[in-house]
């Protein structure tokens, strides 16, 4: 799959996980593993980017004597999910157009 497309997809997937409940790195990976393969090293830059874009915010909670970072979705993150859905609708229209062109050959 195209790298940029996969990156955009992963961002939307991470935001979707966070739209259900606040979560932390390991749990996000586990929740996503049923739908798309994502590694720890892939997730780190995605979370960092989303944080820089103010799509998510971070807070820490003490857990078993250590601090665990939780990510929570912000309004900009919710807007990003909506943008993704809107874009996807346009992409599907374009996909249909390209497929019809390919089928008619």
């Amino acid at each position: 799959m195209d790298v940029q497309l996969k990156r955009g997809l992963l961002e939307a997937c991470v935001l979707t996980v966070l739209s259900k409940e606040d979560s932390y790195g390991y749990k996000i990976i586990k929740d996503l593993s049923e739908h798309i393969k994502v590694t720890e090293s892939t997730l780190y830059p995605i979370l960092k980017r989303l944080e820089t874009q103010n799509c998510v915010s971070v807070y820490s909670i003490e857990h078993n004597g250590r601090l665990r970072k939780y990510y929570t979705i912000e309004q900009q993150g919710k807007d990003k999910i909506q943008d993704f859905l809107d874009d996807w609708a346009s992409l599907l229209t374009l996909h249909k157009f390209v497929q019809e062109g390919a089928n008619s050959e």
Partner: protein, 190 residues
């Protein structure tokens, strides 16, 4: 390899990062290892499952290092470096101009597409107003103008989403391109 060894090796590979960024990366991986162990994995399994440490370090450095830091040398320039730099100035200027033209071209195309879309909508709105408040006696022309204006607005509205997707794709491609260059510069430096 246990957690401590893994984190100290990762820390060594990330030594070029600013201290705050280094701590963020290390605390992220430390937390992941702890969570994996809490999930029932052994320490060795939790650490090994993270993948190639070199790739992790490269990804973290690429993400955290600004483009300029990869171009500007970290050491001071020698006389030979300065001489070479002076001699290659025309080439550097030409190269930067080329990049600037390329970037300006991309952005102007995007702006142009949006302006074209906007013009369809504006022409449509103006056409509808003109057809309603028309001064000519010819009602056939008025109706034709009204229909054409509606079509223009329709084109403007329907073309907006594909243009937006196309623009994002172009911006995405430039980001991908910059990342590729960054990766090359980074590998050259390492």
């Amino acid at each position: 390899m246990n957690k401590l060894e893994y984190l100290s090796e990762l820390g060594a590979k990330l030594r070029t990062l600013p201290r705050s960024e280094l701590n963020k990366v290390l605390s992220y991986y430390s937390e992941i290892i702890d969570d994996r162990m809490e999930d029932g994995m052994s320490e060795v399994h939790a650490v090994c499952g993270l993948g190639d440490i070199d790739e992790i370090a490269q990804e973290a450095i690429l993400e955290a290092t600004p483009f300029s830091n990869l171009i500007i040398p970290s050491r001071s320039l020698s006389t030979v470096d300065i001489l070479l730099l002076v001699m290659s100035t025309p080439l550097i200027i030409a190269l930067f101009t080329l990049i600037l033209v390329f970037y300006a071209g991309i952005w102007l195309s995007i702006i142009g597409l949006f302006l074209l879309d906007l013009s369809f909508i504006l022409v449509g709105i103006t056409g509808i107003i003109a057809s309603i408040v028309d001064f000519s006696e010819n009602s056939a022309i008025q109706i034709l103008m009204f229909i054409v204006s509606l079509i223009a607005i329709g084109i403007g509205i329907f073309a907006y989403s594909p243009i937006k997707v196309l623009s994002q794709k172009i911006v995405g491609l430039t980001t991908w391109f910059m990342r590729k260059i960054k990766l090359r510069l980074f590998r050259k430096r390492v």
